[in-house]
Amino acid sequence: MIEPRLTKALYIVILAALPGLLISWAFGNPAVAASGRGREVSSTELLENAGDYNETRVVYRGEVVGQVLKRGDNAWITVNDDHYSTKHRREYQELKGGNSGINIYCKYEMAEAIQFVGSYETQGDNVRVEGIFYMSNPDHGGDLMIEAESLEIVRDGHKVKGESIVVELIAAFSMGFIALLLGISWWKTSGSSLF
């Protein structure tokens, strides 16, 4: 039978350790956190701390771009979480750096729900992926990737409305007219061939 004083001491130790455990769960090594639920991460965080997140469960959100690459029962998708993942450049006319994303390997049935992939004409579907992050997956030639366990569409993509082209149209016609005048002048005065 355990001494009451010992039991009391045990309670005190557990109570004292609890805040510490909570703090380490929230801010500590992601590997500890990822053994349970996935922690939400960005592509920059994954690329810069790939070793820390290796083979841990992560949650990642972003826009599907390029193409869904079907491979038998599975598929590869590229998911960008950069500035443009929620704002298409043609709609907002904003530039904020290059693209940044991670490649996701998933069951094709998960990817089948994707209707729009990001391109010049479209804003791609935004997806939430939960899966295991690999710094270097031995089954896929050492690629850095997330192997998805679940994938859900959190925001539908759409066709992008075309921007105004009036200024370009005026500029092109004006310059075309000048080029034509120069061409006629050159043709009349020169007599010699460019070739």
Binding site: N137, I165, L194
Partner: protein, 500 residues
């Protein structure tokens, strides 16, 4: 003493530059046609503006710079250097108008990177770029790789006066056929045939990777132009990683290997002389340096345990060494992995591969295998001389299509160019170090720019300082033209400024 060029020489130079710009404008019709087909109206108008700008400039030079006098010696090389700078400015117009660049300097950076077949890029939001503009990025790589002067020689120059100088000015060593125009046309014939075959092979691999046929055709054309011309641009921001296909990696390795070969060797093989592939000393040098650097990379990666198995380690390591050595810059890893995972030895091996470059007379940049071979032979010759009796005459030769005697003049020329490359590699790194970039990464990035490779650790980005962008543009320009044309242009400008 600097000789001030005659007024007629300046006119000839400007007129020839105008012809190059007209040629560039004509080339813009290809991406414009694609944009029109795909109903990308704004990019189509961007190209129309670009075409008209080129025509206005070209016509103006045609009208104002007429001269009946023949060109004097020495005007060919400055023409080349000036043509490349002017082509950069005009080629950047549709890129800038696309709205994917923070400034015109950024658009010029990508245009020079394309023309010089470097592959470093500071485009923003590439993944939402129009097809037409994306094709233009790759097409300028193809034009620059073959040499825009070669384009002009092929289609715009009737006579051969000054043509040889212009041809050599683009860093080409070999005149394959007796006539330089025929040589230029042969280069284009070879390139078009390879384009058709290479694109077909790549199309099979990208469709196999999961792309639909139409999009696959676009990707395969772009990848071929970037690979064969050792450029390194890719249609999407993820680069070669996007495809996750070993077959595509193998096909691009083949493309890069074709691109890193000397056109003289291509010509010999085309003429049925396949033995040249094995007899050519430049090819042997390439084989030795590639093999040595692959070993060095593998040792470096295995010591760190960077990859989970030998297959993955070899796949990544081998690809990056070939990509670096050929001057292509295709990446199957993320840029920061060079720094965070590859460790100093493998990182150094890739830097060395970039610095060495591929074959002379290929589309690659860097010091070039032929120069490394001649340098090594001349050092060995000096050692043999020291160990031999005083009167001994040592004659050294190397085989490059034919046997060539290594003379002091040849070695001097090789040393001058090699020194220029090394100074520029270090100079660029020092500029980066001024902005507090780590020295090893700065040297990597500077070598990548000057040797026209395009691998990056992540330093090259839209946010880097304007001075660094300008220095990289100069490095890419000088490195691609192997410096002499640039020096002559500077000399000519100084002479004009002095007024004598």
């Amino acid at each position: 003493m600097l000789v001030r060029p005659r007024r007629s020489d300046i006119k000839i130079i400007i007129r020839n530059v105008g012809k190059v710009v007209i040629g560039l404008g004509v080339a813009m019709a290809i991406p414009m046609a694609l944009s029109l087909c795909l109903q990308e109206w704004k990019p189509a108008l961007d190209f129309a503006i670009g075409i008209f700008a080129c025509l206005i400039f070209g016509m103006t030079t045609e009208i104002t710079c007429k001269t009946g006098e023949p060109s004097s010696w020495g005007s060919g090389l400055p023409t080349v250097a000036l043509s490349w700078l002017t082509a950069m400015v005009f080629g950047a117009i549709p890129l800038y108008l696309s709205g994917h660049f923070g400034s015109f300097l950024d658009a010029c950076f990508d245009c020079m990177s394309g023309l010089a077949t470097t592959g470093l890029s500071i485009i923003q939001d590439l993944d939402h770029l129009a097809y037409g503009t994306n094709l233009w990025r790759h097409l300028i790589m193809f034009l620059g790789g073959q040499g825009i002067i070669v384009v002009v020689l092929t289609f715009f120059v009737a006579g051969t006066s000054g043509a040889m100088e212009m041809y050599r000015g683009e860093g080409r060593e070999d005149q394959i056929l007796p006539n330089v125009i025929s040589t230029a046309r042969f280069i284009w014939t070879v390139s078009i045939v390879y384009l058709i075959i290479g694109t077909s092979i790549l199309l099979v691999t990208v469709v196999n990777a999961g792309l639909p046929a139409g999009k696959g055709l676009f990707h395969s054309i772009c990848l071929f132009m970037a690979g064969f011309d050792t450029g390194g641009f890719t249609p999407l921001s993820q680069g070669i990683i996007f495809y996750h296909s070993i077959w595509l990696e193998l096909a691009t390795i083949l493309t890069m290997c074709l691109g890193m070969m000397n056109f003289g060797v291509h010509f010999s093989v085309w003429r049925g002389n396949r033995r040249e592939l094995f007899r050519n000393d430049e090819m042997k040098t390439l084989l030795i340096t590639v093999f040595g650097l692959v070993i060095l990379t593998q040792v470096g990666l295995s010591r760190l345990g960077a990859y989970p198995n030998a297959v993955a380690m070899f796949r990544k390591g081998f690809y990056q060494v070939i990509s670096a050595h050929s001057g292509t810059g295709f990446m199957t890893i993320y840029g920061n992995e060079f720094v965070t995972r590859w460790g100093p030895l493998a990182f150094f091996a890739v830097t060395l591969a970039m610095g060495f470059g591929a074959a002379a007379g290929s589309t690659a940049g860097g010091i070039k295998a032929l120069r490394i071979n001649i340098t090594a032979r001349s050092i060995w010759g000096d050692i043999k001389k020291l160990l031999s009796p005083p009167d001994t005459v040592i004659v050294q030769k190397y085989h490059h299509v034919r046997d060539i005697v290594i003379t002091n003049k040849l070695v001097h020329g090789v040393m001058v160019i090699t020194t220029c490359y090394i100074i520029t590699y270090i100079g660029g790194a020092l500029v980066l170090a001024m902005y507090r970039y780590p020295m090893a990464e700065a040297l990597f990035e500077s070598t990548s720019a000057c040797a026209n490779v395009g691998l990056t650790t992540g330093i090259t980005s839209p946010g880097m300082p304007a001075l660094v962008k300008a220095v990289f543009i100069l490095q890419m320009w000088g490195g691609r033209l192997e410096f002499m044309s640039v020096f002559l242009l500077i000399g000519m400008l100084v002479a004009i400024a002095r007024g004598r």
